[in-house]
């Protein structure tokens, strides 16, 4: 039985991970690189004139947070956008960085694949048949569980974004994933009337409690960059999860018919 799960998770996860990497390079990566240029001071929001700051009430001016930001000529030191203390610089060339992105996208989507087929297994133990069509629905649900619901409290972070303490955000992220996943499963498969209010409570709970937030808003990049980045992260994730669900459902059904 585990062999069937292994095949479904691996085949679907690798395929989805490669699609995720492709979409990342096509639609998302340029905004990470742009965000890093603001983070390192290579680009400065309002840095050229500074005259617009007052008009737009940007109270916590970015320049105070970063000495480099006070000097508009500093950019050249990191003009390639790769001189970034959170990973890029340590990894050397852009090729290495991109190769690692492909590898980790595949690892990540294989891990999502295992969680997805674990769900398939439990559903089948209760007599539900899963095929590619159901797989797409499960995939969209997976997107809601692992991306959309956490993003309601913790929007995808552009490098240089201000946020609360990391461990608190990670705890909230996991709790939200568990609550949303359980809530959606109850909503879809619950047989007793109590499942409905319980599902609603679980889906709402993380957002009623609220995600840990940073103190104030003084991110270095323009809001436009952060907004388009967040939108594209969610959009690409939804497409990839639908693919993951379809692939996993198809392999799951084929392997099931064979055994």
């Amino acid at each position: 039985m585990f062999q069937r799960m292994l095949a479904s998770a691996l085949i679907a996860g690798i395929a989805a991970g490669l699609i995720a990497a492709l979409l990342h390079f096509a639609f998302v990566q340029k905004f990470i690189l742009l965000g890093e240029q603001y983070e390192t001071g290579a680009l400065i929001h309002f840095g050229g004139s500074g005259t617009k700051e007052g008009e737009h009430s940007h109270e916590a001016a970015p320049a105070t947070a970063d000495p480099a930001a006070e000097d508009p000529k500093a950019p050249e030191t990191a003009a390639d956008g790769h001189d970034h203390d959170h990973g890029a610089s340590a990894q050397g060339s852009a090729a290495t960085r991109n190769a690692l992105t492909v590898v980790f996208m595949v690892i990540l989507y294989v891990s999502y694949g295992f969680l997805l087929v674990a769900g398939f297994g439990i559903a089948e133990a209760f007599g539900r048949k899963i095929g590619p069509t159901e797989g797409i629905l499960w995939g969209i649900a997976g997107f809601a569980v692992f991306h959309l619901s956490p993003a309601l409290g913790l929007a995808p972070e552009l490098p240089g974004t201000i946020a609360a303490k990391l461990d608190l955000r990670q705890i909230w992220w996991w709790a939200t994933v568990v609550c949303t996943g359980t809530g959606l499963a109850l909503l879809a498969y619950g047989r007793h009337w109590i499942a409905l209010p319980l599902a609603a409570a679980l889906l709402a709970l993380p957002h009623v409690i609220g995600a840990p937030q940073g103190e104030g808003y003084f991110g270095l990049a323009p809001t436009e960059v952060g907004a388009i980045f967040a939108a594209r992260v969610l959009g690409t994730a939804m497409v990839v999860w639908a693919c993951l669900g379809w692939f996993a459902g198809a392999v799951w059904a084929r392997e099931g018919a064979r055994s």
């Binding site: 585990f2 069937r4 799960m5 890029a88 690692l100 990540l108 891990s111 999502y112 087929v117």
Partner: protein, 58 residues
């Protein structure tokens, strides 16, 4: 006969649930390592993926 069928179905369901639990633990562990573990090497290597998939990164 019916009892036997039920036993077979029960064994199959049990094996499905056990496999599912194992798959979930495996998937959860991989997800933690790729998305959340704060070892410097893992963090640096997975940096772009963490940002691009909405994980709390740093």
């Amino acid at each position: 006969m019916t009892t036997q069928t039920k036993t077979i179905a029960g064994t199959k369901a049990q094996s499905l649930i056990l496999s599912a639990l194992f798959a979930a633990v495996l998937g959860g562990t991989m997800l933690f390592l790729a998305g959340h573990a704060q070892s410097a090497t893992l963090h640096d290597a997975a940096h772009d993926v963490r940002h691009a998939t909405g994980f709390p990164c740093h």
